[in-house]
Symmetry: C2
Subunit: 583 residues, 2 copies
């Protein structure tokens, strides 16, 4: 491609609403253009990146035996009503009425449509397994779209759905996809982790997220530097402490802590470690009684002051599976006789279910609210000052330094951006939509399903969050809009420069290299700034003076300075620097 | 591809709602699956065809210097209000409200968005010309979607938009696209015509339709077998007759024609050629008078009984440019004193503007309604029985045998399916949206635009309408889902057959041929029926008996019978039969 025949549209300043670096740089580099909140045109420079991402995904999906189709963007509401998601999804689901006032949605994902296809097409066990995928426009009407392509409303997703005859086969299909995803992410040339994720009520370990590592990532990734262990924060288990509870050394005392309503404030006031304080979280669950009335049950969760509650883990407690909420002020008053900030498990007005985090269960001489404003209890000890907890469980997020659940070291935490997800669905959708096949014994069975997503348009944003500097983007070769930029200096004043640039351009083109020749006639400073902002990984500068010495300059986007290379060898030199195309 | 790893899903019967052969065959061949009226999933077999169409279009658009981008499917109403199309487009435009009750549309086309991009990006004449295109999902909420992909609601279109500094440059951009379209349609391997189309009020000849020839096409295409002339019916000019009007030989007479309200009935009753009768069409135009009231003007159009009115031509008459309607019964009564069926230009109650078609103007001794129920005037002659017409113009559709407008023979008519359109837009959109650039003289000027569409998902349907037989589809090589089907007979009973099939499959794959090996284990009859229905152009059958004689069978989908070929040479033989890939 010659730059004069392309659209290069760089900006000095990022728009005011671009909060994250990938949004700023994609806008400044002319890769996307905002049309409306969360809705972007993929400009020519950005579309080249997206197309390379798509091509890698498509190749590896095909290699893994998945079959491509394209499901409609506009889908009838009836299918979404079969699974109940037409109501359940809320305002994120963009709804439409057509001219005949029939309800439709703009697809946010395609479980319903693909299951509808499967129940028509996959009638016999002989046709299984099958995996159907598409790379298609999606829409989620986010309440607060932001971060450019990171959390847009309209986006492109690769979504795949596997159909199997039984669980063992479904788990195999899942593994095939998990392996394909590793190949895909390897080929992108990004640092990433495949982390175990929570698989909901289904159980098992058949859910993994593919997280691109980036300091700015929204997700915390837990991993063990000494082993293969990696999980997202929701999933990572905090093992039970191995040391036993130490005996009491203090007497329990009601201690004044005026205005100190947080564990941190109390620890500071009393001059004790935060880890000796216990925070009280009051939750409620609701059930429908025999008389049809709603019955609320109140729970007191106890966590160490330096730990955070993990909602997914709490949601798995027996009795919590149907969901929970924070207790109301009225419920708190009825059970504790005290407003929040000074709550604790000692001296309750009415009994509650007390669940202690594993770390809290082994504390001695601990501190908690006294159920009286401006007072905390100190020197609290299980058994002596209050009964043992009703339940001891893992309620908290792990922290760096916690032992790894696989017993092979301690955990570290880094940030990531979720770009892929593989998930074993079981029969959730096939059951809801009556998608069955005839098994070998001639009896109908529900299809076992898995679903597998990759955020095609989010991937470039994640790549930039991971790979940029003050001057702009630094693309890995595999997904760069162009791999090599050839930059002649003032070619109009030097036929030799013009000729050498054109010759190198043609040589690289002929070798299948995705090269752009900057023939715009820009001044060197502006030209270099453009390519550094756009992030083309390899650059060759051809200037009159060096060329007279038989030399040109090569610089990788990560190099601090240029390397002089004999002009006769520059083509071979550049080719030797390219990442081998993994295919 | 091996068939066992693909989804082959053929049906014996077409669905009841499939009215046209392409819809029937695409459904039966498992290429599309209906999700809702006019909304289809592109199934794996169909998607392969669509992808090949896309690839050809993309290659040729890039070659012609157009730059690909992707504009959003969901677009804000504000832009559509700028051009007035949000209101004007009516219920075909699918409207949405998002969660904040802001108005959006699902794009039916993208003039507004691309013009919005151009007014931000193209600020100087130095950046021109530019041509931006996308291959993207569109939606038109057709009142009566039908014919499968031929007139769907959701579809894929390639839409391109050129931006130029002045008319000469815009016309050059138009010609570049018109040439690219010829290359694209040549590569599809279909019989087509590029026909001149009406370019609306803009004038000039800068509008062409690309019509795939098919007996079932909705459009009439006019062409001259002895020259390059081709136009659509709206555009094709009926030349003025060269012979002068003959003198009158009959006296005018009021002749009873009871119950004969059509020209055909009158001609039959009187035993005269239909071409001697004249039909009267009464139209009205409206203007706003000085007092603000609407003033209607009534027109009488006269055409020969054997000719049809051409609305586009009528709409170009001076005074008709703002639109016209058929006159009301009250207006007809006021001017003619007679109900429709017996109207004519002789003996009017109030004067009307009389426009005679060129053929009517040279008639003598003609027949028309007498403005009295159940009576016609015969022997009517211009000048003698009524004044010469106010205007003589080309009002009619041409018919086969009319002289070609280029003077090089006579016209023929065939049917076509419009799949592409190139159109010079001028400044219609840039003016409405204030999209200007700084010209060389430093002054702002509106961008000159052109737009260029190809119906990507309609093309396969048009290809089938042109190429099918009783057994199914016959794809041209370039867009076939697979180019070659290798069909081993009972490979499980003959290792030699299995091996030969696998070897041929691998040989063709290695040569870059898009081959499918049918390893499903189907019986020969079912297997052959599938590939004939699906329309794979080249088939090789490998059977045990022939193979023992060192032979296999080759058959092109259009061949009446198979050809025996030495099994050692079959690879080379097949390759020699493939259409050279035009690239």
């Amino acid at each position: 491609m010659k730059a004069s025949q392309f659209l290069i549209s760089t900006l000095k300043e990022a728009p005011a609403d671009a909060e994250v670096v990938s949004h700023q740089l994609m806008t400044r580099a002319g890769m996307v253009k905002k049309l409306s909140a969360g809705i972007y045109t993929y400009m020519p420079m950005g579309l080249r990146v997206i197309r390379k991402v798509e091509a890698i995904v498509r190749e590896e999906m095909n290699r893994a035996g998945a079959i491509e189709m394209t499901m409609p963007v506009v889908q009838p509401a009836e299918l979404w009503q079969e699974t109940g998601r037409f109501e359940k999804m809320g305002p994120e689901l963009l709804r439409i009425q057509d001219r005949h006032e029939r309800n439709f949605v703009v697809q946010p994902t395609s479980e319903e449509v693909v299951t509808d296809i499967a129940r028509q097409e996959l009638r016999s066990y002989k046709q299984l397994p099958k995996n159907f995928y598409q790379i298609q426009t999606k829409f989620r009407d986010e309440r607060r779209p932001r971060f450019g392509l990171m959390r847009g409303r309209e986006f492109t997703m690769k979504d795949a759905y596997s159909f199997d005859r039984d669980q063992p086969s479904a788990k195999l299909s899942y593994q095939v996809m998990a392996q394909a995803y590793r190949r895909i992410f390897d080929r992108f040339g990004l640092r990433y982790r495949a982390v175990a994720a929570d698989s909901g009520a289904i159980g098992g370990d058949l859910s993994e997220e593919f997280q691109v590592i980036a300091a700015t990532g929204e997700d915390a990734i837990v991993y063990c530097p000494d082993s293969e262990y990696a999980a997202n924060m929701e999933k990572a288990e905090a093992l039970a402490p191995t040391q036993p509870r130490a005996p009491a050394t203090q007497a329990m005392a009601k201690t004044p802590t005026p205005g100190k309503a947080t564990c941190a404030d109390v620890a500071e006031l009393l001059g004790v470690p935060l880890a000796t304080t216990v925070k009280s979280l009051v939750l409620a669950t609701e059930t429908i009684g025999a008389d049809g009335a709603t019955v609320a049950r109140v729970w007191l969760l106890l966590l160490r002051g330096d730990h955070d509650m993990n909602e997914v883990k709490v949601g798995k407690l027996a009795g919590m599976e149907q969901g929970f909420r924070f207790a109301t002020l009225a419920e708190i008053d009825a059970h504790f006789g005290c407003p929040p900030g000074y709550l604790g498990p000692v001296g309750l007005r009415q009994p509650v279910t007390i669940v202690a985090d594993r770390e809290v269960a082994v504390l001695h001489d601990w501190i908690c609210g006294a159920n009286a404003p401006d007072f905390h209890m100190t020197g609290v000890n299980w058994g002596r000052d209050l009964p043992e907890p009703d339940l001891v469980a893992d309620l908290r997020n792990v922290v760096a330094g916690d032992p790894s659940p696989d017993g092979k070291g301690v955990l570290a935490i880094e940030r990531g951006i979720e770009v892929g997800h593989v998930f074993y669905l079981g029969t959730k959708y096939s059951r809801a939509m009556n998608a069955s096949f005839l098994a070998e014994d001639g009896k109908p069975q529900f299809l076992e399903m898995g679903c597998y997503g990759i955020g095609i348009t989010r991937l470039p944003a994640a790549a930039i969050e991971q790979n940029h500097d003050a001057r702009g983007i630094i693309w890995p070769d595999a997904i760069a809009p162009f791999t090599v930029a050839v930059c002649p200096i003032s070619p109009d004043r030097s036929p030799a420069v013009k000729e050498a640039a054109e010759a190198l351009y043609q040589e690289l083109l002929a070798a299948g290299v995705d090269v752009i020749l900057d023939d715009r006639g820009e001044r060197p400073g502006a030209m270099f700034a453009d390519w550094e902002l756009i992030g083309v990984p390899h650059r060759v500068v051809i200037g009159d003076k060096a060329l007279k010495d038989g030399q040109v300059e090569y610089q990788h986007r990560r190099d601090a300075a240029a390397t002089r290379v004999a002009s006769a060898e520059i083509g071979a030199f550049v080719k030797s620097r390219l990442s081998p195309a993994a295919a």
